[in-house]
Symmetry: C2
Subunit: 426 residues, 2 copies
Amino acid sequence: MTDIKTLALQCRDAATAIASLPTQAKNALLRAMADALLADEAVILAANARDIEAAAAKGIGSAMLDRLRLDTARVQGIAAAVREVAELPDPVGQVTRAYDRPNGIHVERVRVPLGVIAMIYEARPNVTADAAALCLKAGNAVILRGGSEAIHSNTAIAAALKRALRDAGLPEAVLTLVEDLRRETILELIQLSDIIDLVIPRGGEGLIRFVAEHARVPVIKHYKGVCHQYVDAGADEDLALALLVDGKVSRPSACNALETLLVHRDIAPSFLPKAAAALRMRGVDLRVDEAGRAWIPDAAAATEEDFAAEFLDLVLAIGVVDDLDAAIAHIRRHTSDHTEVIVTRDPAHADAFVHALRSAVVMVNASSRFSDGGELGLGAEIGISTTRLHSYGPMGLEALTVERFVVRGEGQVRHPGLLGVSEGEK
Amino acid sequence: MTDIKTLALQCRDAATAIASLPTQAKNALLRAMADALLADEAVILAANARDIEAAAAKGIGSAMLDRLRLDTARVQGIAAAVREVAELPDPVGQVTRAYDRPNGIHVERVRVPLGVIAMIYEARPNVTADAAALCLKAGNAVILRGGSEAIHSNTAIAAALKRALRDAGLPEAVLTLVEDLRRETILELIQLSDIIDLVIPRGGEGLIRFVAEHARVPVIKHYKGVCHQYVDAGADEDLALALLVDGKVSRPSACNALETLLVHRDIAPSFLPKAAAALRMRGVDLRVDEAGRAWIPDAAAATEEDFAAEFLDLVLAIGVVDDLDAAIAHIRRHTSDHTEVIVTRDPAHADAFVHALRSAVVMVNASSRFSDGGELGLGAEIGISTTRLHSYGPMGLEALTVERFVVRGEGQVRHPGLLGVSEGEK
């Protein structure tokens, strides 16, 4: 098996080919990749069946099995997602600003690819195609290291994608799937700081902490989403209830699901009983602080840990606060910098909430579940960053590029006196 | 002495105070800091004299002593630089994009401070005030760890700046100077990933590599500037010569100084003798490849190391290339991703050069020495990044912020069907 450094060097050497590819050629490549995935459906499903069998033999839980499992519809979905990336605008070459300096030089800020991106992820095989499509569209070479449970599925998907690369005359190493699944190999990979420009870990907190602690390559990560919704005094209670149910129930396993509800004490008497009824009807287990239990008397007492927890399940921590400032103080103490929501009729309170909190996404009277690249108009999403650097919040194609400077002059120099007149003249 | 983690926690707790300060208050603070520096001139110069004495006793070289030395003019210069930062536009709160989604939610991308920035730097005491001014103006708290040679100067400068913070009713910990100069303390500092958002090392390659290798906090760095100038066939030779002399001679110790000249073989016979004469007249030592020595016969032979070197001195490596592609290939092999220059009359060649190279700054017919925050219109510069993430090239105030999402709705939810009609109605 080729060692990881050699693979990474081959990927970096190939990066130039994708970085300089025109938009139309990249789009054609992605469409060919989508076609190849459809053409290989049988092979991919057979490979997936081997993964499922091995996972079932290992006694892996049904939620995990479901994430791993592919069928015709899911393969079609993966291909469709790749095709959608082809339709997105190309960030590479975009001029974000252009201006002249007093000395006449013309300065442009222009987006360029990052170079080589390593994705380290867990069970879902669709990430293999999604991440490849997004990285390649943004002109980057990509190293993919998926979970061991999905190795056959990932290999079959990568084989289809690589065939499209070959057919387009591009080096296969532009898309490198790491088949050596030892943890030491990840360790070596994330220390190749002269080769890899960015590592994006996606998965459980254990994986992300492992990568963050050992990487010498820049890492963009999100540990968890402890998303808060604060219901202000005088808020529209129906609206607050709709946002609460959507935020908690529509997909509890998502990182943008609500984990904590904070309620102003003036609205607690009328709102909390309704909220508790609506949530419990949908199977939500409530953990409520002392003040809140005055209005939800039969609820379990919330601990400090409950207010720090990302339940990822039908569980909600509920607290009553004295005022907006107390809500802000609570959120500051427990925020994971992901997404916070305020429900209010008072524009000044909305502004104060937005201003006081520096989470990646702050919502006023809208569901936390909109904290998503697709929902926020990025077209697609490679992850959600809670790292307050480079990209903060949902990351789309643009986040896989960086702005550099292109300067055009007519011979301007910084110290015009340096060259003697006799030399300067013809 | 308070341990570094406690100091860093105090700084982080204070960060909220500066993050939410209105622009006018931040500007007033910076002007008061400039005044405090001027008022403390005698104290600062006395402290500096102690540093100079200790450095001289240690036998430190004259170039280093000059970087360390302050006088009235330099203190005034430091104060003036702080005052200039007050005049710059405030990036915090800038709305970079705003749009509505089909469901009616309004999305804004808004700049927020990064949080807590640690600067680790070497001899120049002016960095203490410069870095503090830039970080604070962008709403960040800052931890400063300067070189041991400048400890008395840095302490005196920080004392003046902190007086202005106190007078403005702000927590002093917003600006934290680390006085514990052990290397283990740097090590501990750069691993405080839950407290510090960014580390910027500025200094020699040894310091930067040390920080990059041990940090668990994101690092933005530049190792070195191996800047190239390529003179194309048919280029205006006088223009090429003016850029060459400016790039190599105007400040050889700067990272944006030229280190390598590449010349198309067709223009070498006429250009190289002129270039060699002009450079040698200014004391530049030339290291020339075999093809080039046909036209500069008495020059030393360039080694492969010469073409990788950042001389930071009056030394230049010179090579002759067959064509534009060969120049690009040479630069790709040796680039430090800092700054590259093409001198050409051919717009297609200029575009090909810009397109093929992904260095942070690419110049067409302009001096490499414009690769500087002030010269490129950023107002001031906290460093030059060769990390292809977050900020690439000269970094101004904007690079000390990040864009986040602010969303305003009227109760939009992602799954409108979830809440029953009977519950949703009043």
